[in-house]
Amino acid sequence: MNFQRINALTKKELKKTFREPAILFVIFLFPLVFVLTFGASFGGLGGSQPVYNIGVVNMDSGGLSQAFIEALSNTTLLNVHVYADNQTAQNDLSQGKIQAAIIIPADFSQSLASYYAAPNKPSSWVNATVLLYLDKGSVVATQAVPPIIQNVLAAFLNQKAPPSPVNVQIASLIETKPVSAFEFMAPGMFTFASIFLIMMVAQSFTQDRENGMLKRIRTTPITPAEFMASQVLAYMLIAPNSSGACFRCCLFAGL
């Protein structure tokens, strides 16, 4: 392996990328068009918000729990089904009919009443725990539902910040580590980069073959391994830029 040769060909390939308008289009403009078209077709861009089906099991006989269920029903994001017992709700959850099940505990109303009586005195509150079961198969539901419930509860309590007498606890054995924008988009970006790489390398080869450059390079002492290494190196540098452009477009489009 002679690095002088590899370096020279890699530089040449990079210069080509940034000097040829057609290639610049493929790297920077195509991702933008792709993301915007794809986003408009399938994403939340300008479309309606998704609605989650959730089941509610009310163990509390007080009026405040009914008011809380109404508050949940009033959000446009949730479609609330009331269940008489936990078992039926769990069955529907496992069958995918609902994406989450909320268990309102027996002391829910009492807890809220204690809070309303002395909002600034946490020591006098009766603490209660709302249990939340989530559909493990739905990544979106596990990410989206808990914050919605928290927000509805906070609004219901007229509360701007914790502490709260009612905790929302996730009962399922699933990890609810928040997924970053990068983690959410990375698989798509990597797929895009691979497709892009194949397309670009093939195009580069065909072009060089057509105009006789490949033949000319074959008359020099460069080995096939050195030639391939230069191509791989160049496109390893180009592909992240294209993916980065695509990623920025995704963020911009709010996907």
């Binding site: 002088q4 020279a8 020099t220 002492p221």
Partner: protein, 248 residues
């Protein structure tokens, strides 16, 4: 290197049912300027491609610089400089960048590369345009640059495949002078052309190839006198019964 720079012995090259080169044998001495003449499709480029190791002969033996082209391909590549028939230069690089790229492919050190780049661009009249992108060059300038790329590493054996096609007469003369200069430096030059005038004025010996067969091999003077004609063009007409076609 041995006595002969280039040796071909009974070389045949077939492409499926077409015989492109049919039993060609020739020897080119060191320091000789040899011209291979023939119309388009006669087998000139196929012959050059076999000599450069780009094509494998169907049968026969080819050696360049004393090395078997098939077995010692890497050594041969270090010795030769090839200017192909196509104007193979990168259009998106500048003239100087093209030259530097090829210098690096031959692993030249920085000083040598800079010296040879400037010297060759100067000799072929490209210094002024060295930092312009090649896509802005005229056809003749691209061909001259193609010659520079072939010579950047100071090769001992040079293959020029129709180097002056499409050049204006002035550029052509300049390239001819340059070839004579290379010959003076002791380089072996294997030139293919279908310009009879070019072969007549430059070459020590010429071979005439038609339909893949080498039909004559001698000095231009001998060929003309033996056939009792006025020039090489008439030699070709006499030998093949037809006029050489010139298609660009």
């Amino acid at each position: 290197m041995g006595e002969f720079a280039i040796v071909m012995e009974n070389v045949v090259k077939c492409f499926e049912d077409v015989v492109a080169v049919d039993g060609v044998s020739l020897k080119v001495a060191q320091g000789e300027l040899f011209g291979l003449l023939g119309p388009n499709g006669a087998g000139k480029t196929t012959t050059v491609n076999m000599l450069c190791g780009l094509l494998k002969p169907t049968s026969g033996f080819v050696s360049v610089g004393g090395y078997d082209v098939q077995k010692e391909n890497v050594k041969v590549k270090g010795l030769i400089g090839v200017c192909p028939q196509e104007t193979a230069v990168y259009p998106y690089l500048t003239g100087a960048e093209n030259v530097e790229l090829f210098g690096n492919l031959y692993a030249l050190d920085e000083d040598t590369l800079r010296y040879r780049r400037d010297m060759l661009l100067e000799k072929l009249g490209l210094t002024h345009d060295a930092h312009r992108k090649v896509e802005k060059y005229s056809g003749g300038m691209k061909r001259r640059l193609s010659i520079v790329l072939a010579l950047i590493h100071n090769p001992q054996i040079i293959f020029l495949d129709e180097p002056t096609v499409g050049m204006d007469p002035q550029s052509r003369r300049a390239v001819w002078d340059f070839m004579r200069e290379l010959k003076k430096e002791g380089k072996t030059i294997f030139l293919t052309t279908h310009y009879m005038e070019e072969a007549e004025s430059l070459c020590d010996r010429v071979g005439i190839i038609d339909h893949g067969r080498l039909i004559a091999l001698d000095t231009p003077k001998n060929m003309i006198s033996q056939n009792r004609v006025g020039n090489l063009e008439e030699v070709f007409i006499k030998l093949t019964g037809r006029r050489i076609r010139e298609e660009i």
